[in-house]
Structure formats: C-alpha cells, structure tokens
Amino acid sequence: MLGFDTFLDCPGTASEQAGKAASCQGCPNQKLCASGAGKNPDPAIGEIGEKLSSVKHKILVLSGKGGVGKSTFSAQLARALASDVTKEVALLDVDICGPSIPRIMGLEGEQESSVHQSGNGWSPVYVEDNLAIMSIGFLLSSPDDAVIWRGPKKNGMIKQFLRDVDWGELDYLIVDTPPGTSDEHLSIVQYLSSTHVDGAVIITTPQEVSMQDVRKEIRFCQKVKLPIIGVVENMSSFVCPKCKNTSQIFPPTSGGAEKMCADLNLTLLGKLPLDPRIAQSCDEGRPFLREVPDSPAAEVYHTIVQSKAMPIFYFFLWALLQWVGGGQQ
C-alpha cells in the first residue's frame, strides 16, 4: 500500500526527476514520465496562442465548489457584454460531463446539426449576432447521453474547442468551468498559457462548506499564476416575495466571502441575492437580465460588470479615451 505522502511528493511531469524520484514508485504514470513524454510542450499551445492572440479579454469563471452558480454567472456576464452590439463575445463551456450552458442560453436541442465544420474549423452556435457559444452539449445527440471520459479524453476535447473552433475576431472570451481543480482546469490554463488571460472570477456561496473548496481554487490560481479578478458571493440572501423579510438560507458561518476576501486581499465584486426567477430563466433558457431588469440580482450584476476590478472597465476607459482623442484631432 502506498503511503499518502507519496502522492504529495510528485516532482511534476515536466521536471528532471519525472518518473525517477523515489515518490514515483508505484505511480501509474511512472513509465510515461521516465520516458520524457511530459517534457515536450504540446504544439497545440502555440497554435492556440496564435489563434486567440487577437481576443482582447479572456476571463475564466471558476469555483472549487459545485452548484454555486458558475454557469449562471458566465451566461449573465456573456449576455451583459454582448448587449453592446459593437462587441463580439464568446462563451466556451468546458464542463465536459455536465454542460449546462446550452440550456441556460436557450439552445437546448441545438445539437449536431448546428455545429458545422468548414475550412476554418467548427462553427460555434450563435445565440445573438455577436454572442457565440460552444459546448460539448451541442455534440451530443440526446439529453440522456453521458460523457463517460477519463481525463486525457476531456483534455483533448478542450484542446479542440480552443484550437479548432472558428471564433472569429473576439473582444471577450468567457470560459465556464466545472467544479474542482483537475484535468479541465489544468488543461484550460495550459492551453491558454501562450496567450494573455485577464484572470479568473471566482464564484462562491456564503457557507464555509463552499468556501473551504473555494480557498483551494484560490490556491490553484496562485500555483498556476492565474490572476484573480475578484470573488462573487452568490445566493447571499433571500427576500420573501410575500412578507419581504430577508432570510439567509446558506449562512455565512465563517464570515462569508467578505471575510475571505479581506483575509486573502482579494476584491469582492458583489453579493448576488437568491431570486427564484433566476432559476426559472436558466431552466427556460431566457435572458434574466433583460426580462427581470428590476430584480435586486440584476442590479448587482450590473455593478459587477461595471466594477473597476473587471478588465472590461479599463477597456471602456481606453475606448473612451481613444474616441475622445480622435474627436479632438
């Protein structure tokens, strides 16, 4: 039986010691690492770098915890950005086992026939003229299809999404991820490593059970040197539609995201309340921000998108200065 410490002492697949260190004994990858396979960078990294070099902003939406609202947030963010019709926005869903984006964007049923192949690669599915979506959900022929893939196959799919989809010229690429700190997360960071990534928006809910996983995700970002744009606390509170009293369904027993951000010197981008109309919109694939603009949650979304911490702010400022400068010539 291997001691647990063995797993922690992995020298890393790209290290000189890969496959040769004492801690490599018994590891299923030992032979592969010892052969030097891990050291050669994947040529796709360079190809992806070239292809996505013109994308002005790339934002990853992460959380160590499942079910906190990553896909919901990614979808609202993408729609908010695309509300400026002069901007080209793309939303890439790399949750291979549980792709939610097609349903949330009202594209359920847009299966194989909508993802065409051309000389330029796969065409994404457009939900607006300037909002493109790609998800494995579009490649499955039935809502019951399970994607029972191990890590390497999932990594291959992510590589294809980045390299082979004909995204066109983009202003924003938003990437929705599954929970965890595993293959999908390592792959997306690795394959984007030769491009500029603005950073990650981390989603949490107020309870410690969520935040203990989110702190691990923050460590992951630090380890792979991915900047953290900020943290969004979702499902912060609930206002009863009948009596208007506020309840905290997911109690912030250890201070919630506010305390975590203060402790870790991170920006708290906003606290989104629970609103049953959000779940409903997501289920029905309808745009929440457009249909329920007076929801307290909608107001918080707008605050988040316009926050100075978001790379979008600086781009607006840059664009405004360019316009002002151009007008004065």
Partner: protein, 268 residues
C-alpha cells in the same frame, strides 16, 4: 453477501453510491444525513468520501483533523463516536493544510481512489455510503472498478428540482445503466423554501423536477427534502440534525427516505 477475498470490504453488508451529475445539489449533505439516520436506527455505518478536490464529509461530521493511523490491514477509519457506529474516510483527513488544493489529473486520482476503496480497514459495517464528486469521469470509474469484486447494491441519485440539475442527472442515470449500477432511487433536495417569518413556500430552485425525472427514467422517487437553513447550519457546524431538530419537516423527510432505502437494501 460479501464474498471471500474481498479484503477490507469482506464484512461490509451493503455498499451504496451517492451520485449526481450536478454539483452543489447536496450529495454530501444527503450522504451525511442518511448515515446519521442509519446510525440512529442502530446500524453500523461507514462513509467513504471520494471527492478528492472538494472533500466535505469531515466538516459535516465535525471530526476535526485527526491523524489517520495504519494497522495491518490498512488505514484505520476515523470514528465519530466512541461506540464506533459511524466510520469515515476522506482525503480531507490526509492533508496537512486544509486549504491545500489537490491539483491532480485523472491517473493520480484513479490511483488514490483505488487505495481509498481497498485499503481502509472498515471492519463490520451494515452500510457503506460512498460520497462522490459531480460528473461521470475518473473518480466514478475508479470507484466502480475497485468495487468490482464486491457487490454494489446500487446508487442514490440526488438532484434539485431545476431542469438545469435534472438535465445532468439524466446523464448520470445513463452512466449507471451503462456500468450496471442499480438505481435505488432519486432524492430531490432543496425542494421549496418555507419562509420562517410568514410560512410562505417559495420554489427558489423551481419545482417537481425530481419526480418528473423519476417518472421519465422509470426510477423510484425516494422523496424530497426542503431547503432548510437549519439543515445548512447543522452541516456547516457538524451537528447531528436528527438530534437537534427531530420534530422538523426536514427531519421527517430524511427519516422517511432513509427507511425506504434501508428496507430496499435489506429485502434484496
């Protein structure tokens, strides 16, 4: 019945996986509450937490960060009580720094799960519950491969009422069918929120999805558990919800689900 050559699982009568295609639906919460319900029914229970990236079980059962000892047969599980009626194993016990991320690709996760399944000296158990991460990937395949020699009674699938959730759970049901795992039933969690101020019930995460999913897939609907801040607070603080709130509607739902499940296991 366990077969000879099962090693550490030889004296485990029933193995139940707790699955969901979707994250955050309450797999760990339901696993914890079922385990406590079985324990209160006089059963010897174990929980194996194979969520390597986000292990929640240690916190939910308030066992702190004890050392894990080794014996001749492997790792000794962590017991929640002196009577040893609830035994736990989680990667959470094996990390020195609780905030340290487990940033592993599939093959390493697979190897760790092989150890977690085979090398814990469970001893005699009536039920071993296996709490899983969301998805249909390395962890799930690894658990099933390593339980091949031992009988798996089946899986409980947890969902919330929303279509976004049931949409993923449908895929998990396909996973079960493809891998020959019997579906013991579906639990719908976060099923309506009753305002503590005015008792109005709001369906924050929609309504009815769990029952519809059960009908659609020909599965047993085990029951629904409401969205209850008292339950959230209990699992946050690692308190026994059954002991704290035995008269609540939430406890009544959980109790009923656990009884149906136990009956189904014992009649098999």
């Amino acid at each position: 019945m366990a077969e000879a050559g099962d090693g550490n699982l030889a004296l485990v009568k029933h193995v139940v996986l707790v699955l969901s295609g979707k994250g955050g639906v309450g797999k760990s919460t339901i696993t914890t509450e079922l385990a406590l319900a079985f324990k209160h029914a006089g059963k010897k229970v174990g929980i194996l937490d194979v969520d390597l990236c986000g292990p929640s079980i240690p916190r939910m059962l308030c066992v702190g960060r004890p050392d894990v000892h080794q014996c001749d047969s492997g790792w000794v599980p962590v017991y929640t009580d002196a009577q040893k009626s609830l035994a736990l194993m989680s990667i959470g016990f094996l990390m020195e720094d609780p905030d340290e991320a487990v940033i592993w690709r599939g093959p390493k996760k697979t190897a760790m799960i092989a150890q977690l399944v085979s090398d814990v000296a469970w001893g005699e158990l009536d039920v071993l519950l296996v709490d899983t991460p969301p998805g249909t990937s390395d962890e799930h395949l690894a658990v099933l491969e390593n339980l091949r020699k031992h009988r798996v009674d089946g899986a409980v699938l947890v969902t919330t009422p929303q279509a976004v959730s049931t949409g993923d759970v449908r895929r998990e049901i396909t996973f079960c069918k493809k891998t020959g795992v019997r579906i013991l039933g579906i639990v719908e969690n976060m099923s309506g929120f009753v305002c503590p101020h005015c008792t109005e019930c709001t369906n924050i995460f929609s309504k009815g999805g769990g029952e519809e999913l059960a009908k659609l897939t020909g599965s047993v609907f085990l029951g629904s558990v409401p969205l209850d801040p008292l339950l959230s607070a209990s699992v946050e603080e690692g308190r026994d919800f059954a002991e704290s709130f035995p008269n609540s509607a939430t406890f009544s739902s959980i109790s009923s689900i656990s009884q149906v499940l136990l009956k189904s296991l014992e009649n098999d």
